[in-house]
């Protein structure tokens, strides 16, 4: 049996078996999922280069790019599945959809023709819908419907673009399209690529296609949100990469008008990316629910990736791919931590949480690890990826967008601190006195994700090697000036390992100062200095409207809402349709008689014309 068929069989059988046997035992379904994913990972790592199916004629293959995204999908999928061991209450339906979803994602990455790609894209999208919907409920139903509408719009864009590509190049295979695209009329070419990017941008949560994201993330099952944000949004990024670099690198975008040395297409993408990063991070600051905060943060970070693609230089592409990897890792970690917190406390409203560091120290430590990577502190994977994007932007002269991107990454500190403070620091609630640390499967999954976060943070060269190979494969400019620990760009250089080692030396210096000083005495959390504002210990957790003074100043910016525009379009369409309906279905029998007469006259006229 061909390994590709075997892989498909593993996913299919795994999904069905998990569904059927999942009804008998609470834990069996998760173990079956893990076995399926382990088998799939093994087969995935041993796939031959090409595989074609005769009827229906579909083409599959693997290259460095699909390998990278496939490893992310399977690796993080397995880790999330491991964390699912702590959620036996999820229904077998969910596991069925989860396995199918990962299978569809993998075959999406492996597909080498338009039909297979689109089928897998749709399967992936529909299984997400089923998982968001879950057991139903008004809120989840609304979020799932919103997701479905957006997903359908995205799919329609993609289908339309595929139709244009297939029609103009007479080929359904990627290779044929890449070869034939230079003969296409330039108008159709640009239209197809713009449509593809718009379609993939829905899944990649790029503004203005992002409105489904906060709702869908907030309502989907908590451990699955980690996978949805960490991995599935990257499939949109994968699609944008295909559309923008694989398809358009061949047709020499250099011929297009240029701004600061970048063709106008890339320039527009960079602006959209930067505005997404900036706007979403400002909105993340004012969220009251932690899941929504992380959802907006995801949108913001995905904007960085698009920004890197838009710059389009060797450093920009490497930075964008690097950020895709690092966002996948740290956002999965942060969402899993939040899932653990919600499991133990039952809420993600930040004002109702607080002080959990005393009860869940492990979760706190990994929340800091995830936050360091999110904020882009050196030593974690978040820094080299952001650093490459900045260097690329400044080097290419993207001055205004660089400022926006920097503002966005400063805003990260604001919402990240709010996240970690409101949940883990501050005062512990009276009704959280008996909260326990998250169970073993969850905290062990934290550790598994943290290893690559630090490993690639200290040795970014390992990842850079893969990005260089990807760039080479698609004839793109590649960053070659790097070693295992150092990356050098035309602007400057960065040695990750030295930074890490020196930080530990500095930390030792800090500890030395700590031990020079006298002994300390542990005090109760209410034993604080309140400047005489309260004479008895009272609960004063600063969790609600954390940045109120900032929100007040940013009000003019917050008023800009793309959702209002959509609302307006919807209202307008409804109004027009209503008027048309009222005009035609007026309830007057005479009018209906007129319609019938006119219709018959047209019919007779048409038949008469055709006969002639």
């Amino acid at each position: 049996m061909n390994p590709y068929e075997l892989l498909a069989a593993v996913f299919g059988l795994g999904a069905i078996l998990t569904y059927l046997l999942g009804h008998f035992d609470r834990h069996l379904k998760t173990w079956l999922t893990l076995i399926t994913l382990a088998l799939a990972t093994y087969i995935f790592l041993h796939l031959p280069n090409e595989y074609s199916l005769e009827s229906p004629s579909l083409l599959f293959g693997i290259d460095k790019l699909s390998w990278l995204f496939g490893i992310l999908t399977l690796g993080l999928g397995t880790i999330v599945a491991f964390a699912l061991l702590a959620y036996p209450e999820l229904s077998p339906n969910f596991y069925f959809m989860f396995i199918l979803n990962i299978g569809a994602s993998i075959f999406l990455l492996l597909s080498r023709d338009l039909v297979a790609f689109f089928l897998m894209w749709e399967l992936m999208s529909w299984t997400i819908f089923a998982m968001i919907l879950g057991d139903g409920g008004a809120e989840r139903g609304r979020a799932a419907t919103k997701y479905l509408v957006w997903s359908a719009i995205g799919a329609a864009f993609i289908l339309f673009a595929f139709a244009i590509l297939a029609k103009s190049t007479n080929s359904f295979e990627w290779s044929g399209i890449v070869a034939g695209i230079s003969q296409m009329p330039s108008g159709w070419r640009v239209a197809a690529i713009a449509l593809l990017i718009a379609g993939f941008a829905v899944k990649a949560a790029i503004m203005p296609m992002h409105t489904w994201v906060p709702d869908a993330y907030a309502e989907s099952p908590h451990p699955f949100t980690a996978f949805l944000s960490g991995v599935l949004s990257k499939l949109g990024i994968y699609g944008i990469f295909l559309a923008f670099f694989v398809l358009s690198a061949r047709f020499e975008l250099v011929n297009m008008p240029k701004i600061f040395g970048t063709h106008i297409f890339g320039y527009i993408l960079a602006w959209i990316g930067a505005l997404t990063a900036f706007g979403a991070s400002l909105i993340a600051i004012k969220q009251e629910h932690a899941k929504r905060l992380l959802a907006w943060s995801s949108i913001s970070q995905l904007g960085y990736i698009l920004f890197g693609f838009g710059i389009g230089s060797a450093i920009g592409i490497a930075g964008a791919l690097f950020h895709a990897v690092s966002h996948a890792l740290f956002k999965t970690l942060l969402f899993l931590i939040l899932a653990g917190v919600i499991k133990r406390t039952g809420t993600d409203r930040m004002a109702e949480l607080g002080g959990l560091i005393k009860k869940m120290p492990l979760s706190f430590i990994f929340a800091v690890v995830g936050g360091l990577a999110l904020a882009g502190i050196p030593m974690t994977i978040g820094f080299p990826s952001k650093w490459l994007i900045y260097e690329a932007a400044i080097h290419q002269g993207f001055i205004f967008t660089t400022v926006l991107i920097f503002a966005a990454s400063t805003a990260v500190f604001l919402y990240y601190y709010r996240f970690v403070f409101s949940i883990f620091l501050g005062e512990l609630h009276a009704n959280h006195q008996d909260v326990k640390e998250v169970p073993f499967p969850i905290w062990f999954s934290y550790i598994l994700i943290s290893i690559p976060i630090f490993w690639l943070g200290l040795f970014p060269g390992k990842a850079m090697q893969i990005f260089a190979e990807i760039a080479e494969q698609f004839d793109l400019p590649a960053v070659t000036n790097f070693t295992a620990t150092t990356i050098t760009t035309p602007l400057g250089s960065f040695n990750a390992l030295i930074v890490g080692l020196v930080f530990f030396a500095s930390f030792a210096f800090g500890l030395l100062l700590y031990f020079i000083g006298g002994r300390t005495r542990k005090v109760h959390q209410y034993d604080t200095f309140l400047a005489g504002e309260a004479d008895e210990p009272v609960k004063l957790h600063y969790g609600q409207r954390f940045f109120y003074f900032l929100e007040r100043e940013l009000k003019p910016l917050y008023r800009i809402s793309v959702e209002k525009i959509y609302q307006f379009v919807a209202e307008f369409t409804r109004f027009v349709a209503d008027q048309v309906r009222k005009g035609f279905f007026c309830g007057n029998a005479q009018a209906y008689l007129y319609y019938m007469t006119i219709f018959i006259v047209i019919l007779v006229f048409a038949i008469w014309r055709i006969k002639l």
């Binding site: 503002a407 604001l414 601190y417 030295i498 500095s506 100062l513 700590y514 000083g517 006298g518």
Partner: protein, 296 residues
């Protein structure tokens, strides 16, 4: 190599002492402006020694204790990454952007520590500090991008090298607007009035420092001492051409002195006003400077 390692160990201690003297001089100068007598210039060194010898220090937990430790560690590592007086230690291993991110380690560690202190005053102080940071960081980045484009490099060593050969070569002349914007941002980075909202002793009881006492407060003083040198040092390296060791500290004190003079006569902005201020006037000045650099 041995000399470099010895210097790397010796320099933080030197910088701590000089930074504490800066703080003492600041008290003296402010006092003279207010027509008071003021404490001796070495008062802050005495204060730190006193704080470290305090017994019975209140402690809210492990993260609370680690906060000041990370604050000092983060500042020391930033210090090693900026060239002080033509003596580059690790400046070849990172550039301005690396430094901007290393600079955040210290406040972030401290913020986490303050959080475990569970005092709402501390949390409000941090929230204000972060808001202020969102304000001035944009200005600082606009100016830094202008410098990087002007020099064609993000490396401190390259930027200092291009400014060698006398006062006329300093970047403050071709990049005057960027330097002005940076200096305005520096006022908030240093935490001097009118941008001392995060501390605001009369409103939120010293904000982040409210729960810290004894050796913790001593460590935060040391953190502040290093921070003054690092933050003024960035200005010296970017716009005033670095210089030999003595000259470097003279220039750094001159930058600090300007901030002090403003501090001594200004009241405090409301935090919202401060944020809005940074996103309007200094940002506009910086952007004009940036556009001029980008065009020429």
């Amino acid at each position: 190599m041995t000399g470099q390692i010895l210097w790397a160990i010796f320099m933080p201690i030197l910088v701590i002492i000089i930074g504490l003297i800066y703080m003492g001089l600041a008290r003296k100068i402010t006092a003279r402006i207010h027509n008071r007598y003021g404490p001796p210039f070495y008062q802050n060194i005495i204060d730190v020694i006193k704080l470290f010898s305090k017994k019975d220090v209140a402690n809210h937990g492990v993260m609370f204790s680690l906060g000041p430790v990370i604050a000092v560690a983060g500042m020391v590592i930033s210090l090693l990454f900026i060239p002080i007086g033509n003596r580059p230690l690790l400046s070849f291993n990172g550039d301005i952007i690396v430094l901007l991110y290393l600079l955040v380690i210290a406040p972030l560690g401290m913020a986490l520590g303050v959080g475990e202190g569970a005092n709402p005053n501390g949390a409000i102080g941090i929230a204000r500090a972060l808001t202020l940071m969102l304000g001035y960081e944009v200005v600082l980045v606009i100016a830094a991008v202008a410098v990087m484009i002007h020099a064609g490099s993000a490396s401190f060593m390259e930027i200092i090298r291009q400014q060698q050969g006398g006062v006329a070569h300093w970047f403050i002349w071709p990049l005057f607007l960027s330097a002005l914007a940076t200096d305005i941002a520096l006022q908030a980075i240093l935490g001097e009035k009118p941008f001392d909202q995060p501390i605001a002793p009369h409103e939120i009881a010293s904000g982040p420092m409210v729960e810290y006492g004894g050796k913790f407060l001593g460590m935060l003083q040391i953190y502040h001492a290093i921070a003054i040198i690092v933050e003024t040092g960035i200005f010296v390296n970017l716009f005033l051409g670095g210089g030999s060791l003595v000259w470097w500290f003279v220039k750094s004190f001159a930058v600090f002195f300007v901030a002090l003079l403003i501090n001594a006569v200004m009241p405090r902005f409301r935090i919202g006003q401060a944020f809005k201020f940074y996103w309007t006037y200094p940002a506009a000045i910086g952007l004009v400077g940036l556009i001029i650099v980008a065009i020429t």
